[in-house]
């Protein structure tokens, strides 16, 4: 299950971060923030190829962190995704019980992207503002309970 879902603006500030309430929110903020190192590196390494192939999924960002002691006793994987407008999605997934396949992660990101697109299509939403959308919230909630 997803334990944290984040949308990051092109300029790398957070547009949306939600994490499971059982854990310290701060730890997830740090986790998402540090993931941007790899996201940045992947985007710059892929460069033009990324644009050409329309491959938005960045895959596993860090090797599975299964020894997060006091932070989280489970196996956490961080995945990344980048839209054409360089908005990034970062998802932290707990795979200690069920290992998710790449395809499942991809489809979760696609759902997230679709929902994000809906937010952007809202004429009252100003691109670059923090996302405050009930529809988006409930979609993220569904992803957080979905698999567990």
């Amino acid at each position: 299950m997803a334990v944290c879902v984040a949308v990051i603006a092109k300029e790398n500030y957070p547009l949306y971060i939600r994490s499971v309430p059982t854990e310290s929110e701060l730890k997830f903020h740090y986790m998402v923030h540090t993931s941007l190192d790899v996201v940045d590196e992947k985007i710059s390494a892929m460069g033009k190829a990324l644009v050409d192939q329309r491959e938005l999924y960045l895959g596993l960002l860090y090797p599975t962190e299964d020894y997060k002691v006091s932070v989280f006793p489970n196996q956490l994987c961080r995945y990344g995704y980048v839209t054409n407008s360089k908005v990034k999605f970062v998802m932290v997934v707990d795979s200690s019980n069920t290992a998710l396949r790449d395809n499942e992660i991809r489809s979760m990101f696609r759902k997230l992207h679709n929902s994000y697109t809906d937010v952007m299509c809202n004429p009252f939403y100003n691109p670059g503002d923090r996302i405050q959308s009930r529809a988006f919230d409930s979609m993220v909630t569904s992803m957080m309970v979905q698999v567990c």
């Binding site: 790398n12 971060i17 090797p63 020894y67 002691v69 100003n126 691109p127 670059g128 503002d129």
Partner: protein, 1099 residues
């Protein structure tokens, strides 16, 4: 933060990190560190005996040859010199049966050292053979020795290998005696020994294979709380060996896979809950050791990547160290009355353990049941009390700083920042607040610039605690300002508390302690704060806010992008507070690039310190949260600043009072802080409709700053008119009449005129345009293209003045002319008299054209067009002057100035004097010229110049005439051999004799044979030679006389004269016809009326 301070800080932090790293190196080994004999590279152990290295130089040389400067290409042997009578460890009697043997542990602590340093694979005995030879022999043998040493060494090495081979065989041979139930420990031990001997034998492949088997065996052991430490210790050792060999074999992925497996297998094997901090310590050590191995491999050439580098392992090691600290805190929290048990359960007889990983108070006991619970309790207590003396923070910080160094190297700036935050927090826990602040302050800007407010708030909160505990006033205020600001994600109650503290500090009182601080530290801090108060009086803190997000926002906005100097400059300062409660300020002042204006832009209120707390929401000097306050400023610009930019360099807002403590928030330029640029961008994109506000209030987002304005001159109140008759004609004195009329209400003075070619056009125009005020004389090159600052006096209201300008343009084309009128006027603004300089300019584009189109042609005396002229034969030059001017021109005179090669045939008088040409009219002139023979000149012969002297008909008498010079075309001159001209009357009369004389001139240097014949004509009878052949001498002429008798009236063809030159067959009658007339008009018998009619038909 300033650049200098910034780099200093980086240096500081790096020094700190380095220092920590050095500390780590020099720290004494702890229980958790791997033994040296495990971590070293095992090498064959060979002892040399019989060498006296202290007193015998030769022996010393032999020893040095073996040991000194061993390079990597030499065989791996560890040499040791021992005396010949050295006693080696005794070989214990090998058992022949394991039937009754029960091992007491897995691996003895002395075993590795024994085989590395005590039991040699080979003992080399040196004998000195005394040959009584002279000294040179000795030298020779020494040289030979050196050469031989390598060979000897290899021999030693082979012997050593054989030794270890037999050792392996020997250990393997024990296997068959073992059984699975009682000898489980021995399986591991033997496997380990085989692997270790293989390493000594330098057979790393087999060593790896055997270590892997040993690793699997160790996990097959029955684990229980009593032996779990021993199992983990051995697993850790073997894992270390495997990872090390994998890196050595350049298979880092195998090493990583093994390590992950190791961690997976061991992380749950916590063992005794009361000693769970030991497990964390052990885990931390595993990660750290792997990180070290990884880092070492990188130093030897392995490449790591961003997502797989030693940093992660140090980071995990640090996390386990943190866990160890927390567990230790929870488990080792004994009452002070609890004393360390006596006798010390951690003491052993020998001072060391017999087996790795066993408990000192029950060594060699294999039973899972605790035979002596009391002893066990004492042992646990001893371990717990020992743990209390461990400085956990130091371990954590060292590991974190190792990780920071790695992440910095592998392009993970955010990970680095995150770890530095953790380091800072750890320093905070360790009560080293200075270092904590240094680290936190350093990384803060990274989070701020990327807009991660939650993280920034968390860091600021820790930083605020540090600054409180150290009573660092300026830092305390700075962090409070930001924690109260809009970037802070603190709840309102927290903000409220911080604001209250801030106000207390400004009133020279102590703030309340921050929550969750160490009680002792708070006590110290309270003393420090009390001391600070006594120092009050000079506490003014200026804080530049552009690098952070304070709780007051500021925008400056000039009312217009430019102001005329005769109106006051106005601007607004907008302020908005984001804190939970209203706050008063004592002063607001603005600074400009021209500091003279600063004094006019200050708002100050002599408020007492006690009033800061009062809730005067309506007060002028009070900021209400969320409301935008506007402050209007006004000043009169200096006349010297006309044309200059006035910029706001800073806006200073003073909180507090100089009697207590003062904080000056200083915005550079027209306001704005670290977050406002992004906010302004978002606001500009937003379509949101803003709710209506009460009159006079504004929305913060709708205010767009304007931090600079231009001072421009007063609007002129005069008119400038230009009168002239375009286009200008080349070289004429073109007249431009400037009329200046004052519409000002007061007299203006010092009126000055600048006029002429507008600067900035084609540079060539400047050379060919000249301006003067005096039209009576032609201006030359020395006149300027632009006349500047011509004083024209003063003007009273309604008065006007005129000024004539003359412009001479030397080339055709269009030009822009500028007429610029400046003047001074006294005016009053804001009860202040100033002298304004005003100016008005007009530009006009004037086309210059050539006044005439002049056409020139050459014709024969018969007015026939000539392609070329003949030497010495007269011809006509015709000029045709067509006026191109839209205005009437008077040609004063014209002149033909001939080239030396041309001769006039008669006088060259002008025929155009005083002729007036209207537009499109033309005037022609005709001159008879002759060109002497010149020989063949390429391109023809120059004719000369035609000069027309003219002026506009409308121009005044005293305006000088302009001469326009036209260069006449060149003409080709050709020589002819014979020239014929005829003398004949202008007309004939019917039946009256008409005498005609032909002159034949020989123009050559030769005697010419000429055939002349005259053909008969119906209109004439004639007498004379009809056909003749004659000779003409060079330069002479021959006359032929004929008497024609016309028979018919009218225009009649003369009997044609044919001439044939025998020497010049090219000379044709065609050419001849150019020179002599071919027809003549014949009149009837005299009758006056008829004569008149005939005359008119000729012209």
């Amino acid at each position: 933060m300033q650049m200098g301070a910034f780099s200093k800080l980086i240096t500081d932090v790096l020094t700190l990190v380095f220092q920590k790293f050095c500390d780590a190196l020099t720290m004494s080994p702890t229980q958790w560190d791997f033994p040296v004999e495990l971590c070293c590279r095992p090498m064959a152990f060979v002892t040399l005996t019989g060498l006296d290295v202290v007193y015998n130089a030769v022996h010393r040389a032999v020893w040095d040859a073996f040991c000194a400067n061993r390079r990597a290409d030499r065989v791996p042997i560890s040499f040791k010199v021992l005396p010949g009578d050295h006693e080696y460890p005794k070989c214990r009697p090998k058992r022949t049966s394991y039937e009754w043997y029960i091992p007491k542990g897995i691996l003895k602590t002395g075993w590795m050292n024994k085989h590395l340093n005590l039991v040699p694979a080979l003992v080399v005995v040196f004998y000195e053979l005394d040959w009584d030879e002279p000294q040179w022999k000795e030298k020779q043998s020494e040289c030979a020795t050196r050469v031989e040493i390598v060979r000897l060494e290899n021999a030693f090495y082979e012997h050593a290998q054989t030794y270890y081979y037999t050792e392996i065989r020997r250990v393997k041979s024990h296997k068959e005696f073992l059984n699975k139930t009682t000898h489980q420990l021995l399986f591991v031990r033997h496997q380990f020994k085989i692997a270790f001997f293989s390493e000594l034998k330098q057979d790393t492949q087999n060593a790896l294979k055997n270590y892997r088997t040993a690793y699997n065996l160790v996990h097959e052991l029955r684990a229980h709380e009593t032996n779990i430490l021993e199992i983990k210790t051995m697993a850790g050792f073997i894992n270390y060996k495997i990872c090390r060999l994998c890196f050595q074999h350049n298979t880092p992925l195998d090493a990583i896979a093994q390590f992950r497996k190791h961690v997976d297998l061991c992380k749950k094997k916590i063992g005794s809950a009361e000693l769970s901090f030991e497990h964390a310590a052990w885990m931390s050590k595993q990660f750290q050791a792997f990180g070290d191995l990884f880092d070492e491999a990188i130093k030897l050439g392995l490449t790591a990547i961003q997502t797989q580098n030693p940093g992660f392992y140090y980071q995990q090691a640090a996390y386990y160290a943190q866990e160890r600290k927390q567990l230790a805190k929870a488990l080792c929290h004994h009452e002070p009355s609890v004393t360390y048990p006596s006798p010390d359960p951690l003491e052993t007889q020998t001072g060391v353990l017999d087996f790795y990983g066993q408990r000192s108070w029950r060594q060699g006991i294999l039973s899972f049941d605790l035979s002596d619970p009391e002893k066990e309790k004492a042992g646990i207590l001893a371990v717990q009390l020992k743990e209390r003396s461990v400085v956990h923070s130091e371990i954590i910080i060292t590991l974190l700083s190792n990780a920071v160094a790695q992440f910095k190297k592998y392009k993970c700036p955010r990970m680095k920042s995150h770890l530095m935050v953790q380091m800072g927090e750890e320093y905070y826990y360790a009560k080293d607040y200075t270092k904590a602040l240094k680290l936190l302050d350093y990384v803060m800007c990274d989070y701020r610039s990327e807009g991660w407010w939650t993280l920034l708030t968390s860091i600021l909160t820790t930083a605020l605690k540090c600054s409180y505990l150290m009573a660092q006033l300026k830092d305390y205020i700075t962090y409070s300002l930001e924690l109260l600001g809009r970037a802070s994600t603190l709840k309102d109650d927290q903000k409220s508390r911080i604001e209250k503290n801030l106000i207390n500090v400004l009133m020279n009182e102590s703030p309340d302690p921050e929550p969750d601080c160490d009680i002792l530290a708070v006590k110290t801090a309270q003393k420090l704060w009390a001391d600070r108060i006594s120092l009050a009086g000079s506490n003014v803190f200026t804080i530049g806010v552009q690098d952070f997000v304070p709780f007051v926002q500021c925008k400056a906005k000039f009312h217009a992008p430019s102001f005329h100097v005769d109106v006051p400059v106005q601007f607004d300062i907008y302020l908005k507070a984001d804190c939970p409660h209203p706050i008063r300020f004592s002063k607001l002042c603005v600074s400009f690039n021209n500091q003279e204006y600063n004094q006019f832009c200050v708002i100050e209120e002599a408020s007492k310190a006690s009033e800061v707390l009062e809730n005067l929401t309506q007060g002028k000097m009070c900021l209400v949260p969320g409301k935008t306050r506007k402050f209007l400023f006004k000043f009169v610009a200096k006349t010297e600043d006309v044309g200059k930019k006035i910029e706001i360099t800073s806006v200073d807002l003073v909180l507090g009072n100089e009697a207590g403590r003062c904080v000056v928030l200083s915005w550079q330029g027209g306001g704005g802080d670290a977050a406002s640029a992004q906010e302004a961008l978002q606001a500009s994109r937003s379509f949101k409709r803003r709710p209506k506000l009460a009159a006079g209030e504004v929305h913060w987002d709708s205010v767009v700053g304007q931090a600079s304005t231009m001072i421009i001159s007063r609007v002129p109140n005069i008119s400038v008119h230009l009168r002239h008759d375009p286009p200008a004609l080349t070289n004429e004195m073109y007249c431009l009449l400037v009329t200046v009329e004052s519409h000002e209400k007061t007299p203006i003075r010092d009126v000055k005129l600048t006029a002429g070619l507008k600067p900035g056009q084609d540079a060539n125009l400047t050379q060919k345009t000249h301006v003067t005020l005096h039209g009576t004389e032609l201006c030359d090159e020395s006149y300027p293209a632009l006349l500047t600052d011509i004083p024209v006096g003063d003007l009273h209201p309604g008065e006007q003045l005129e000024k004539m300008l003359y412009i001479r343009c030397g080339t055709v084309g269009s030009r822009m002319f500028l007429v610029y009128v400046s003047y001074l006027i006294n005016t009053t603004i804001e009860e202040k008299e100033i002298i304004c300089k005003c100016h008005k300019d007009e530009t006009v584009t004037i086309e210059t054209i050539f006044p005439f189109d002049v056409a020139v042609k050459f014709v024969s005396t018969k007015f026939e067009h000539l392609e070329r002229v003949y030497a010495d034969i007269p011809f006509l030059l015709m000029t045709d002057v067509l006026s191109a001017s839209p205005w009437a021109l008077t040609v004063i005179s014209s002149e033909l100035r001939l080239a030396p090669s041309m001769m006039p045939v008669d006088q060259l008088e002008s025929q155009l004097d005083k002729v007036v040409l209207q537009t499109g009219e033309s005037a022609s002139e005709c001159f008879c010229l002759r060109c002497p023979s010149t020989g063949n000149v390429e391109g023809g012969v120059a004719t000369g110049h035609y000069i027309i002297s003219w002026k506009r008909t409308s121009a005044m008498e005293n305006i000088p005439a302009i001469s326009t010079v036209i260069t006449l075309p060149h003409v080709i001159v050709e020589n002819i051999p014979l020239h014929v001209n005829a003398d004949l009357p202008s007309f004939g009369r019917v039946r009256e004799s008409l005498p005609v004389k032909y002159h034949l001139q020989n123009k050559t240097d030769l005697v010419q044979d000429v055939e002349v014949s005259v053909e008969p004509s119906d209109a004439f009878m004639f007498s004379g030679l009809k056909q003749i052949r004659l000779r003409i001498l060079p330069g002479t002429e021959q006359e032929m006389l004929y008497n024609f008798y016309p028979l018919m009236a009218g225009y009649q063809q003369l009997p044609s004269l044919n001439i044939n030159l025998l020497r010049f067959p090219n000379f044709t009658n065609q050419l001849l016809r150019r020179f002599i007339p071919t027809s003549i008009f014949v009149k009837r018998l005299a009758h006056p009326d008829l004569i008149r009619a005939d005359v008119s038909s000729i012209f």
